[in-house]
């Protein structure tokens, strides 16, 4: 049992190492040995590391990224705290809407949200053309405005973290405080807030990490407002002339450094919360109807209108307009953009083929989802039910990918997989779709592992030992015992990683093969060339297709499970 488990553990660790850790190592190595991956070994020393502060562009990128991330994290956490406090305590109609909106924001790709905001707020955007509110444009297109926009998109991370802690509270603490003379606000301030501090810290860090690694907003912003960020500078160091792979590597190194620091902060704050108070008395707070329910509904509704309604609504509206500036009149409405999507544009190089791009994206994401689920399954199995010595390695690798943004991963992949010596063994994957699949797997692994670990927690180890006594090998145990018990969450995990990887703009930008269209690129390119109708129509259709697919697949999966159960009971196969 041990030996075969060791093989599984070792195999999966190797895969994770190659997919996730090796690219990161490549980026870090490139800093001191630039050109290593182009066949040139020269010790560059650490001079390169300092160069970031000599060039104004890199320096500004670094500062911009830090301020944007810190600002968005702070504002996002404040918003999230207020919303979570209200949501956990009161019962009002808009509450369910708030939860739904949080999940939509989490899943929605950031470049789509950013495009929506750009279309809304730019000089010739919706709000200045239709309402004449030019102040919106001047507000959004400056650092504070960008922080605001980012916070509105990223706050759900903090919201869910804080809500989770606030909902499961020990009611008595609040009651005791009130008996001692504290009004509701004082109770929140002196009792609930301090106890929830770890979750606030966690929320802040999550938003910070997500923002600083974000590529979608800078990409959408690039055509409209000059705001260099680390992620975009990494991209442009490689995709604009003069090309500087070494600097891209250094910028990536700095990004990873900042992220590691943030992660350290997160771990530290979680560990320092000594109040393990979630005892048996912790119950979901009973939510009462507040006295002025309509006020809460109005406030939350208004907020959702801004943070979701503006970007999504703008995109939807623009996709139906023939000329953005001409206003919402009947003869300005058109389905031409949608028709153009499906017609396929052969000659106009500004508009990449959407149908082909969608097909490619779907297949890449599908492969990535399935493989990441498989790898995640085996990893989670090894972590939960074996004593393999690879456990800590697997843990490390699966977490690292969370902190490494797509752009950095992309560079690492370019370094590693464009090697001459890989060609004879058929592993020269640079410039092929397989690299996209691998990158997609790398991005999805942390979620795949986490979700399955959670599901495995409900499977008792003794069941597996019993199976082993009956002679089942590792594969058999995985297939016959664990799989049927966790298949529902497996399905969900697969669908979730499918949904997120299909919209990954950063990886698509970095690793796209020549003449290989991908959906996020179609949208990004159209936006870059100001073909806003086409871009937004593509966004709308893509979201619809993906949501539909996920819903359908989930239903099909559930039906399949029921069918399999029935077969097993009837046929007595076991």
């Amino acid at each position: 049992m041990k030996a075969s488990e060791a093989r599984w553990g070792g195999g999966v660790s190797l895969l994770l190492f190659v997919f996730i850790f090796l690219p990161l190592l490549a980026v870090l190595l490139n800093v001191i040995l630039p050109g290593l991956f182009f066949g040139q070994v020269q010790y560059g020393g650490f001079g390169l590391v300092g160069e970031i502060f000599h060039r104004p562009l890199w320096r500004q990128s670094f500062i911009n990224s830090l301020t944007l991330a810190a600002g968005a994290a702070t504002l996002g956490t404040v918003i999230a705290g207020i919303l979570a406090a209200v949501r956990a305590r009161w019962d009002f109609a808009a509450a369910k809407l708030l939860d739904l909106a949080a999940w939509v924001l989490l899943i929605a790709p950031s470049f789509m949200m950013a495009q929506g905001w750009m279309l809304f707020a730019s000089k010739d955007g919706l709000v200045s053309e239709w309402l004449g509110w030019t102040w919106v444009s001047s507000f959004v297109f400056q650092p504070a405005g960008l922080v605001f926009v980012m916070a509105l998109s990223k706050f759900p991370l903090a919201y869910l973290a804080i809500l989770a802690a606030t909902e499961w509270n020990v009611r008595q603490y609040g009651h005791a405080a009130r008996m001692n003379g504290a009004g509701p606000f004082t109770v929140w301030r002196t009792v609930e807030l301090p106890l929830a501090r770890p979750s606030y810290a966690a929320g802040w860090t999550l938003v910070f990490m997500d923002t600083i690694g974000d590529f979608g907003l800078p990409a959408a912003l690039a055509t409209v407002y000059k705001f260099p960020t680390l992620t975009y500078s990494i991209y442009s160091a490689i995709y604009q002339s003069p090309v500087r792979f070494d600097m891209a590597g250094v910028l990536a190194f700095y990004l990873v450094l900042v992220l590691a620091a943030a992660m350290g902060l997160l771990v530290l704050s979680l560990r320092r919360s000594r109040f393990d108070f979630l005892n048996a008395k912790a119950v979901r707070t009973v939510k009462n109807r507040p006295r002025h329910a309509w006020l809460y509904n109005a406030a939350v509704g208004g907020f959702l209108l801004i943070c979701l309604g503006i970007p999504l609504g703008t995109s939807a509206v623009v996709s139906l307009l023939s000329k953005t500036g001409a206003g919402l009149t009947r003869d300005n409405l058109t389905l031409d953009h949608y028709r153009a999507l499906l017609a396929g544009s052969a000659s106009d190089h500004r508009l990449l083929d959407y149908a082909e791009g969608m097909l490619h994206s779907l297949s890449v994401a599908a492969f990535a989802a399935v493989f990441s689920m498989l790898i995640g399954f085996v990893s989670a199995y090894v972590l939960s039910f074996t004593e393999s010595r690879f456990k800590s390695a697997i843990q490390l690798f699966s977490i690292v990918s969370l902190a490494v943004p797509g752009v950095v991963l992309g560079i690492g992949y370019i370094f590693i997989w464009n090697q001459q010596w890989l060609e004879p063994i058929g592993l020269h994957l640079y410039g092929t779709p397989s690299l996209l699949v691998i990158a997609g797997i790398a991005g999805a692994i942390p979620y795949a592992v986490r979700v399955q670990l959670g599901a495995f927690g409900n499977v008792s180890g003794t069941m597996l030992k019993a199976a082993a006594m009956q002679g089942a090998g590792t594969l058999g145990r995985m297939r016959d015992i664990v799989l049927p018990l966790v298949r529902q969450s497996l399905l969900l995990a697969t669908l979730a990683s499918f949904g997120t990887s299909i919209f990954d703009l950063a990886l698509a930008s970095m690793l796209k093969p020549a003449n290989y269209s991908l959906m996020p690129l179609v949208i990004d390119r159209a936006f870059e060339f100001s073909q806003y109708g086409y871009a937004t129509a593509a966004s709308v259709v893509s979201c619809a297709v993906v949501v539909l697919l996920i819903v359908v697949l989930q239903l099909v999966g559930r039906g399949l499970f029921l069918y399999m159960d029935r077969i097993r009971i009837k046929g007595g196969r076991q």
């Binding site: 075969s4 093989r7 195999g11 630039p34 050109g35 991956f37 182009f38 066949g39 040139q40 060039r55 104004p56 562009l57 000089k123 010739d124 055509t223 000059k226 260099p228 442009s236 490689i238 995709y239 604009q240 002339s241 003069p242 090309v243 500087r244 792979f245 070494d246 052969a346 000659s347 190089h349 500004r350 493989f371 370019i414 464009n418 090697q419 001459q420 060609e423 058929g426 592993l427 020269h428 994957l429 640079y430 410039g431 092929t432 779709p433 397989s434 699949v437 002679g471 089942a472 090998g473 590792t474 594969l475 058999g476 093969p513 020549a514 003449n515 290989y516 870059e528 060339f529 100001s530």
Partner: protein, 388 residues
């Protein structure tokens, strides 16, 4: 131990399935790999700042002749039957089918903007995926030639068909071939915002204009480096830097490409633009409130060239493409195109240009060597200025 065997074979199947899948996907989109482990590594040093001059040409003559393609003029090149890849910005979708039709060689065209194409070429230097290049900006291509990316020393037959002007642009080492020149930037102004008497007519006036102006980003758009380098060469580096610094202070907006520049001009975000000629004429001919001025002292010229990769997979096809592009018939076809892409001065003899253009416009064109030498410096300086 049937169980152990069964489990073992299952595991093997999974692993091999993954590998096969990867390999299969790998071979799908990838162009057929070349053989030859003895292939010379192109000078692999990634571009570290400073001059873009010749870095470390590491290849030796013997190996390069093995890499396909001969260097002595007149010898027949080998047709390997492979599809060649064209990286280019304008006309690529139009020209590739025409070429295939005319010659029977297989070509796949990939559209890349100028900065992108250079970056791709740089990234692939360990293992180039491209065979022929067609782009604006002789300086950048000179740079590639200096770093030994290009095939040199081959004289196409159709070189004789170039006009006098065209022949003057052909480099000594025959690393690239000019096919057309157009204005990287003309002065275009929004007639609603700028009365005709206030409109700048020279580049000095453009820099001194009181109001927001804009042009494209030399890091991204191919024609934008010729634009900026023309100024730097004309006025000398210190003066040009001074003018640009002042201009940034007074309001200079930089857009990734010329398309957005045109848009911004229309929306009134900028009053005057240094806009590439075909974008400018496109707007004017479409009836937009835009007027175009070809400055007296000349418009910064953008030389469009074709070049062949040193490691082209099908040298015969690549050379045939160059010949094709140099033919007057081909260039006539291009100038007759309906779209404003046809706005350029053809360099083949006897080919007429679009009538709507300025017929006697002069160009400001630094030498290829000068442009190549200062490329990295100017682009870097510009990018740094742009963030303030």
């Amino acid at each position: 131990m049937t169980i152990a065997k069964g489990k073992k074979s299952a595991r093997l199947t999974i692993v091999s399935a993954i590998v096969l899948l990867l390999a299969a996907c790998g071979s799908q989109a990838e162009p057929p790999t070349r053989g030859g482990g003895a292939q010379p590594q192109a000078s692999g040093a990634s571009h570290a700042g400073g001059t873009g001059g010749a870095q470390q040409p590491q290849t030796d003559a013997g190996a390069s002749s093995e890499a396909g393609g001969t260097q002595s003029a007149g010898q027949e090149a080998k047709d390997t039957g492979a599809t060649i890849y064209l990286y280019g910005n304008d006309f690529v979708d139009f020209i590739a089918p025409k070429f295939m039709e005319a010659t029977g060689f297989k070509m796949e065209a990939v559209h890349y903007g100028g900065g992108e194409a250079l970056a791709k070429i740089e990234a692939e230097q360990g293992n180039p995926q491209w065979d022929v290049l067609k782009m604006d900006g002789h300086g950048s291509v000179r740079n590639l030639a200096d770093r030994d990316f290009l095939l040199t020393g081959w004289k196409p037959d159709n070189l004789a068909k170039l006009s006098e002007q065209g022949k003057g642009y052909v480099p000594a080492d025959l690393s690239y071939f000019p096919i057309g020149i157009h204005a990287a930037a003309l002065i275009a102004y929004n007639t609603d915002k700028v009365p005709a008497d206030k409109a700048p007519r020279t580049w000095e006036q453009f820099f001194a204009y009181d109001g927001p102006v804009g042009h494209a980003d030399p890091a991204v758009a191919a024609p934008a480096y010729p634009l900026v380098s023309a100024f730097f060469e004309r006025w000398g580096e210190p003066m040009a830097q001074k003018l640009y610094t002042q201009r940034f202070k007074d309001g200079l907006r930089v857009y990734p490409k010329n398309g957005p520049v045109g848009k911004a001009l229309l929306s009134g975000e900028i009053h005057v633009a240094a806009l590439q000629e075909h974008n400018a004429y496109e707007l004017k001919l479409a009836g937009e409130p835009v007027e175009v001025v070809w400055p007296e002292e000349g418009a910064p010229g953008s030389l469009r060239v074709v070049a062949i990769s040193k490691q082209a997979k099908n040298p015969a096809a690549a050379k045939a493409f160059v010949e094709f592009m140099l033919k007057p018939e081909t260039q006539q076809m291009l100038t007759a195109l309906d779209s404003t892409d046809s706005f350029f001065t053809p360099l083949a003899e006897g080919v007429s240009a679009r009538s709507e253009r300025e017929p006697n416009g002069t160009f400001l064109l630094p030498t290829a060597e000068w442009a190549a030498e200062h490329e990295a410096d100017i682009k870097t300086w510009f990018a740094d200025q742009n963030i303030q």
